[in-house]
């Protein structure tokens, strides 16, 4: 259910068309050997650290499945992509792969037999992994416990995405970065951060918007994007839309613990990234990521004039609105579940933790909703998604759970209908934020679905039959567009 969507963090959600079977290797990386050694020790333990940084297990382990044995299912508009067994099983895993073959799969998305992975596997990012780190990763994966079984579910894609060679053209155009090289304009720490951000941690996968072909739009590098309904925020150094107003300590706390007081909390795919990957990183690597993010050129979100976390008014709520009194216990009103009063629903579903006035708990344990990035954001997505999915996260400072409230995800017998979720989100943003949510019931499934699938994906089958000639023209146009955007990117980054 919901885990499926949470995990598809990388490409999956975003890339309906292109989901690699080898999911997470991307992160593996290029880590600076020295730092990585500090963090890990020998080759295998360094490889383990890198595999965590790359979040391999998140996608290559099925729910309740054996580690790295694959079977995690990405459900996408083009069909199902299932992650593969990357244990050293000779028959079902990668036990027969040489280091070169391993590196090629991780960096180029090509298996030893020549078949192409789907970019659910973030190989365009993992391409940045250095040779030294690749060696460590290989060493680590050689000694993972082999699982001699194939995932019980098989990848099945709709036409035309199931055609052999489909991914080859995409790879030619979009997956062509090489191993990371130090940027002379950056210092050693910033370079280390850049290596992690662009390589193993594959931040761009979610935080850079995608173009019509589901490749990252590098002209908007780290400017924020929608992932599976969640808004992955702008990580540029912009003071209003990005991280420019955050202190180093706040960014570091967020990456390690999943939350930064008065700023934001990680939910959805980012909570997964914290849980499975980022909270394991060394303080030095966290600091390096922070240092590098400071250097990312600012991009302002159009129309935004105030940071999301700076929005909020702490003011007492009128208690008579939340304590209207009840009918008698033997009357239908006592069991009726159709109330759509946002104030009353907020008070009963949210206020036990977030406070009647949205102030959070007195000791900061539960986040305030005023001065909260999710509530003050231009779009209400993350408020809605937190209600729909809940929050499930493990950071360096412990576990955090907010229960889910949608019918399909709730586990504490606490369902809100789409209309009720809309009312609560409207109340929360109006009372504690900037009133950005003007939602109706119909908006909720739309937000959950992450908006409509890209035109190209929806119309792929039709396009296919339009003919080779048109396709060629389209491909030429794509190449042209990509080349141009790359130029912009190199100018910008």
């Amino acid at each position: 259910m919901r885990l499926t969507r949470l995990k598809r963090a990388g490409f999956a959600a975003l890339v309906p068309a292109i989901v690699p079977v080898i999911v997470s290797v991307f992160a593996l990386g290029l880590a600076l050997p020295v730092l990585a050694q500090d963090a890990g020790g020998g080759l295998v333990s360094r490889g383990e650290y890198l595999a965590r940084a790359g979040d391999c297990a998140a996608c290559h382990t099925a729910r309740d499945g054996k580690p790295m044995a694959g079977g995690y299912v990405f459900s996408m508009p083009m069909g199902k992509i299932v992650s593969s067994n990357i244990t050293p099983s000779k028959r079902f895993g990668i036990g027969n792969w040489t280091e070169e073959q391993f590196a090629r799969a991780v960096r180029k998305g090509v298996r030893p037999d020549g078949s192409h992975l789907y970019p659910a596997m973030p190989y365009p990012s993992y391409a940045r992994i250095t040779d030294a780190d690749m060696k460590a990763l290989y060493a680590y994966f050689r000694q993972v416990k082999p699982v001699d079984a194939a995932p019980s579910v098989k990848t099945s894609l709709k036409f035309p995405f199931n055609l052999p060679g489909m991914m080859m053209g995409w790879d030619l155009i979009f997956a062509n970065s090489g191993p990371f090289k130090d940027d002379p304009k950056l210092d050693a720490q910033q370079n280390r951060g850049k290596y992690l951000v662009q390589g193993l941690a594959h931040c761009s996968t979610c935080h850079t918007p995608r173009n019509a072909f589901m490749a990252t739009d590098n002209g908007k590098y780290l400017a924020g994007a929608n992932v599976d309904g969640w808004e992955a925020p702008n990580l540029t150094s912009d003071k209003v839309s990005g991280l420019g107003g955050w202190s180093d300590a706040e960014i570091e706390s967020y990456l390690k613990n999943g939350h930064a007081k008065g700023k934001a909390q990680a939910g959805g795919p980012m909570a997964d990234a914290i849980t499975h990957s980022l909270h394991y990183l060394s303080d030095q690597d966290i600091a390096a990521i922070t240092a590098y993010l400071r250097t990312v050129p600012p991009i302002r979100t159009e129309g935004q004039s105030k940071p999301s976390w700076a929005v909020g008014k702490a003011q007492p709520v009128d208690w008579t609105k939340i304590e209207p009194g009840m009918v008698a216990a033997d009357k239908p009103g006592y069991r009726a579940t159709d109330n759509t009063d946002g104030a009353q629903l907020y008070n009963t579903a949210c206020a036990a933790c977030h406070g009647i006035n949205g102030q959070g708990s007195d000791d900061g344990h539960y986040p305030t909703l005023t001065n909260n990035s999710a509530v003050g954001a231009p779009k209400p997505n993350n408020v809605v998604m937190a209600i729909v999915d809940g929050i499930h996260r493990k950071g360096a400072d412990g576990m955090a759970v907010m229960p889910a409230f949608s019918a399909s995800n709730q586990v504490i017998h606490d369902t809100l209908s789409d209309a009720q979720i809309a009312s609560v989100a409207n109340y929360v943003t109006a009372t504690f934020g900037n009133g950005s949510a003007k939602l109706t019931a119909a908006d909720i499934p739309q937000i959950e679905a992450g908006g409509a699938a890209p035109w190209l994906i929806r119309n792929a089958a039709t396009l296919f039959w339009v003919g080779v000639a048109v396709a060629v023209i389209v491909i030429l146009l794509i190449i042209a567009a990509v080349v141009m955007s790359r130029r912009r990117k190199s100018a910008a980054v």
Binding site: I322, E323, P324, G325, M326, A329, D330, Y334, R335, A336, T337, N339, Q344, L345, N347, T348, A349, A352, C353, S361, H365, Y366, G390, H392, M399, A400, V401, M402, P403, A404, Q410, V411, I412, H413, D414, T415, L416
Partner: protein, 530 residues
């Protein structure tokens, strides 16, 4: 074959026990129908009802009192004819009565299963601790329980972990509350056998439930879903493929060839009747309603034991004004520190055992009410409320009850709900075994008060604690028990009972975990047969 039945298994009752049976069977691929007399009400609605009623002292109050399936406090629904007024709080909705409970989930200790052989009192179980241990473990992992792995819970195995466990608790024990720690320190481990109460109110997240934040509202409704209740497994059963039918009051049980139960029929609130067939039936409508249903239909009662042997943990308690002025009941867990000095020992030949514990509910409204009635006003009133709130501690004990056929419930046709179904008549007396045990508990109260430098404001008389065992008693002999060790009716091969009502020896610990463990055990038996 399957087409001949509406389901492989029909489970009647969606409380903690029935829902766990339904989930186990659905998870193992069986087709399951789960019938619930009450409605399905989301948590937020129950909380809304709670916070918008002035009747917080009535723990049933936030829950719908359905005219067709009333709560136990509907006037007339329970009628007592004995010397003791037995008025347990029972609910009718998806998830059942565990919507309001302290969340205590103890295991019985091995000697509890052999009460009669060891001490010559009451009855033995037809199984032993070792038979149930694996199911205790499964139940603990289903419910998500926090407990102290290294602790002695028996009071007789000082310094050891006891009883034996095949797996650690899913979640470790939390720190004591401030007042519990103070009490613990004042009593001292030399003379007092103290341990942490195992609880489904968890201090770390589990299975999508958040960690406890100390709302101190377990006995009314947990606002955040930390405290487990049966609705969690009702929902899990549905996700595993079970069909849940709510507002379905089962009234009729039909027996066919070979004394097998053929069908059950339920009524909607409007009185429409629907018959459902299955290969196996599990009655899990709690102790009273299950017994009532069996008696209404003259099913499974060849022993004449259905509805008899009613045992509760009849208890006493004391209002203690502690010497220290910062004790403040009402912070965090409502139950936690437990005293097991009198859980087990040869004294059980003479008087009942007891479990004694510190209750930590918020007493302030009651304290304020007393002060206002006394005539205090202004600064004096405020000072009294603050002084009493800072010191008041409630200590209570469960006493072990023995099964007596004379303590019983029966359908009461003199009272009818909106569908014309009968109420419940109760006859209950407290026996000398319990009375003798209460003397011992009261002596301990005096000692506790002394050690805590406090004064006893009041000792409460016998009160029921809603642990309704014995009415569906399990045994080794068809002549004097209702079900066998599998929970299977002696009279009908395909009829099982899953309820605290099957428990034949009450011990002194809260029985829900044991009933869930037994239900999972029954489900395994059933799964092999359908």
């Amino acid at each position: 074959m399957a087409q001949d039945f509406d389901a492989d298994v029909i489970v009647v009752g969606s409380g903690a026990v029935g829902s766990n049976a339904a989930y186990e069977l659905a998870r193992q691929g069986k087709s399951v129908i789960l019938l619930e007399a009450g409605p399905s009400v989301p948590r937020w609605k129950i909380l809304m009802n709670f916070r918008n009623s002035g009747r917080h002292y009535d723990h049933n109050d936030p829950y719908p009192n359905n005219p067709w399936a009333p709560t136990s406090y509907q006037p007339g629904y329970l009628q007592n004819t004995g010397s003791f007024e037995m008025m347990p709080g029972m609910l009718k909705l998806v998830g059942g009565t565990t919507w309001h409970w302290g969340g205590a989930t103890w295991r019985y200790i091995p000697n509890d299963f052999k009460l009669n052989s060891l001490y010559g009192k009451g009855r033995d179980w037809p199984i032993g601790y070792d038979d149930l241990e694996p199911y205790y473990t499964r139940a603990e992992y289903q419910l998500g329980i926090s407990g102290g792995d290294g602790e002695d819970q028996s009071g007789t195995h000082k310094g050891q972990a006891y009883p034996r466990r095949s797996k650690p608790y899913p979640i470790n024990a939390e720190k004591f509350t401030y007042n519990a720690q103070k009490m613990h320190d004042a009593l001292g481990t030399q003379d007092y056998a103290m341990c942490t109460e195992p609880t489904v109110r968890i201090h770390k997240p589990w299975d999508g439930r958040p960690a406890c934040e100390g709302n101190n509202n377990c006995d009314q409704v947990c606002p955040i879903g930390t405290l487990y209740n049966g609705s969690i497994h009702a929902d899990k059963a549905v996700r595993a493929g079970a069909r849940l039918i709510t507002e379905a009051v089962v009234t009729r049980i039909e027996v066919g060839d070979g004394k097998k139960v053929r069908s059950v029929s339920y009524m909607t609130p409007e009185g429409k009747e629907t018959k459902l067939t299955a290969k196996v039936f599990v009655l899990a409508a709690h102790s009273f309603e299950t017994a009532k249903l069996m008696m209404m239909n003259e099913v499974g009662n060849s022993s004449d034991m259905v509805g008899r042997n009613l045992m509760d943990h009849i208890g006493i308690g004391m209002d203690l004004m502690a010497g220290e002025d910062a004790m403040w009941s009402g912070r965090g867990p409502v139950q936690q520190l437990t005293i097991m000095n009198w859980r087990d020992g040869d004294f059980r030949k003479e008087h009942s055992a007891n479990k004694t514990a510190l209750a930590n509910g918020n007493p302030q409204i009651s304290l304020a009410e007393a002060a206002i009635n006394e005539g205090l006003m202004g600064k004096e009133l405020d000072a009294r409320i603050m002084r009493d709130s800072a010191r008041y501690q409630f200590v209570y004990s469960f006493l072990e009850m023995l099964p007596s056929p004379a303590n019983r419930i029966q359908p009461n046709p003199a009272w009818k709900d909106s569908l014309g179904n009968p109420g419940i008549k109760i006859h209950f007396d407290v026996d000398d075994y319990v009375k003798a045990g209460a003397v011992v508990a009261r002596e301990m109260y005096q000692d506790m008060a002394k050690r805590m430098g406090g004064t006893i404001a009041k000792i409460h008389g016998f009160e029921n604690h809603d642990h309704l065992m014995g009415t569906l008693i399990m045994g080794a002999d068809a002549k004097d028990s209702v079900v066998n060790h599998e929970g299977r009716s002696w009279d009908h091969d395909n009829l099982f009972v899953a309820s605290v009502g099957v428990i034949p020896a009450a011990g002194v610990v809260n029985p829900t975990l044991t009933a869930v463990a037994l239900a999972i055990r029954s489900a395994d038996v059933i799964a092999k047969e359908v």
